[in-house]
């Protein structure tokens, strides 16, 4: 090995000033890096990398994004997966009501949600947590048990309280997101753009309901179990490292259907509808039943109402 003193290897030709030379080299390296990146990526990956924020996409760009995602998912899961971006309808503000005097804690909702919304099976993600509490203690989430197991429910002396995203009118999770990857849509649903989320999990610490969940590992779903009807802001398969949450089944409710948890509930404890429609089921509940919202003192104004239907 021969050592070359620095002076013997001039960095530039005598005609260039040192600044010009540095600038040229920087441009060259930048060009090389860009070329290498472009060469290393498939066109789809390149598009995904340069995709803009969901709300900034124009019609053509959005169509291209949806087509790209649909193609990617279809290849990955070996069946036709559609990705919609159905917007919120005007005059609609979604609300939810859950009858605590009916719920028996059977957890049918938890697993119907997992199947409908393509949550990761391993590592396990559930958007709904069912809390078991003692009737004598009343609603006391500090001493609730989410891990109860029994041959039959309801267990004597206990009642059950499913908790999921409360779709707050003043959502603290949206406030803290440093990159605006999560927001409240016009129909009141708080959604996440998984392509924009940086996985900082600030929203998870801001949410008082434990309703946001992080993909710590690469999500796994068997091909046969993937729900192929997806929404960009809802149940499309997520990558590792992003936060996800209940969207009231945005892919269903924006097409007029009930959320999956409403339809599966064997005791009919779950009610859903348009808060702006005076004839809707949720409005009837709010106007006629004893209703409360969870952690009212925090000022989050949930659009998820617990009630006693007895």
């Amino acid at each position: 090995m021969t050592e070359h003193p620095k002076t013997e290897a001039p960095l530039s030709s005598p005609a260039e000033s040192p600044e010009e030379a540095a600038a040229t080299r920087r441009h060259f390296l930048q060009g090389m890096a860009a070329t290498a990146f472009v060469a290393a990526c498939s066109p789809l990956e390149r598009e995904a990398f340069f995709q803009r924020h969901f709300k900034e996409l124009n019609k053509d760009e959005l169509a291209r994004v949806l087509a790209r995602l649909s193609q990617g998912y279809s290849e990955r899961f070996h069946k036709q997966v559609t990705v919609s971006a159905e917007p919120a309808a005007s005059g609609v503000l979604f609300g939810y009501a859950l009858d605590l005097s009916r719920c028996i804690g059977c957890r049918r909702c938890v697993y119907a949600c997992v199947e409908e919304n393509n949550q990761s099976r391993d590592p396990q993600i559930h958007w709904i947590t069912v809390l078991e509490m003692e009737k004598a203690g009343g609603v006391d989430v500090m001493h609730a048990n989410a891990y109860y197991d029994a041959d039959e429910v309801p267990r004597p002396g206990h009642f059950y309280m499913p908790v999921q995203c409360q779709q707050c009118e003043h959502p603290p999770c949206v406030k803290v997101c440093p990159v605006q990857a999560t927001w409240q849509d016009a129909d009141g649903i708080v959604v996440v753009d998984y392509n924009w989320c940086i996985g900082c999990r600030c929203c998870m610490s801001a949410c008082p309901y434990g309703a946001r969940h992080f993909n710590w590992g690469e999500p796994t779903i068997a091909d046969a179990e993937v729900n192929p009807e997806t929404h960009y802001l809802g149940n499309r398969p997520r990558p590792r490292g992003v936060v996800e949450k209940c969207t009231f089944c945005v892919q269903r409710v924006r097409n007029g259907r009930y959320p999956a948890c409403v339809e599966v509930c064997p005791v009919g404890a779950r009610k859903f509808g348009n808060l702006l429609d005076p004839t809707s089921e949720v409005r009837y509940v709010i106007e006629n039943k004893r209703v409360f919202i969870l952690k009212e003192e925090l000022g989050t104004s949930p659009k998820f109402f617990y009630f006693y239907g007895v």
Binding site: G91, L93, G95, I104, G105, C106, R107, R108, V110, Y111, P123, Q124, H126, T129, A146, Y147, Y148, D149, A150, D151, E152, V153, P154, W216, G217, V253, G256, R257, Y258, V262, E263, C265, P266, V267, G268, K271, F272, G273, N274, L275, L276, D277, P278, T279, S280, E281, R283, Y284, V285, I286, E287, N288, K289, S301, G309
Partner: protein
């Protein structure tokens, strides 16, 4: 000065009117409890039909007339030979078949008024005693609904969830509990 204040007031009015959208959005919070339920709403609910699936008969029992047509009704309270699978756990102990079933035409149910209703409208019969539940059921609040939140809904008969002879809802086996955080990854 007076004219100025009128102008300001007018400006305010225009501005408030323009904010109508926000008012509409907050309307569900403003509505006072107990104001809305009126006779008009219940009449409207009566007018709409309740699409229900066929009644949950045990296999082969309906139409009842296939056996009962040639039998003379026996109004005595007694042990039933053919229907001994039925144990009544519904209300007071002196509840008996003909409180609900109709002795002269077994294919129909009979209201307290004497009016006959088909099994597919059994909710009218149940509603005689359980009026509060009937009212909630018609509004879509008691019982399970599927279909569209803003359109056609599928109702269920009371009997689809509650066995009319023993109506208490039966306990279910719960699905597995979630994994604890230390079991994930």
């Amino acid at each position: 000065m007076h004219r100025l204040s009128v102008l300001v007031a007018f400006g305010l009015f225009v501005w408030v009117s323009a904010c109508g959208g926000n008012h509409e959005r907050a309307a569900y919070l403003r509505t006072a409890p107990g104001v809305a339920p009126s006779g008009a709403r219940e009449d409207a609910a009566d007018a709409k039909d309740f699409p229900v699936p066929p009644p949950p008969f045990s296999e082969g029992v309906f139409p009842c007339s296939q056996c009962h047509a040639d039998m003379t009704p026996d109004l005595e309270v007694r042990d039933l030979g053919e229907h001994d699978g039925i144990e009544l756990h519904h209300g007071p102990r002196d509840r008996w078949c003909f409180d609900c079933h109709n002795p002269d035409n077994r294919d129909m149910l009979r209201l307290a008024s004497g009016r006959l209703v088909p099994f597919s409208e059994s909710y009218r019969l149940c509603g005689q005693c359980h009026g509060d539940k009937y009212r909630d059921w018609r509004m879509g609040v008691h019982g399970k609904r599927s279909g569209e939140w803003n359109g056609k809904k599928q109702y269920l008969l009371c009997a689809h969830c509650h066995n009319p002879h023993a109506p208490r809802f039966k306990p279910l086996a719960p699905l597995p509990p979630p994994k604890r955080p230390d079991e994930i990854l």
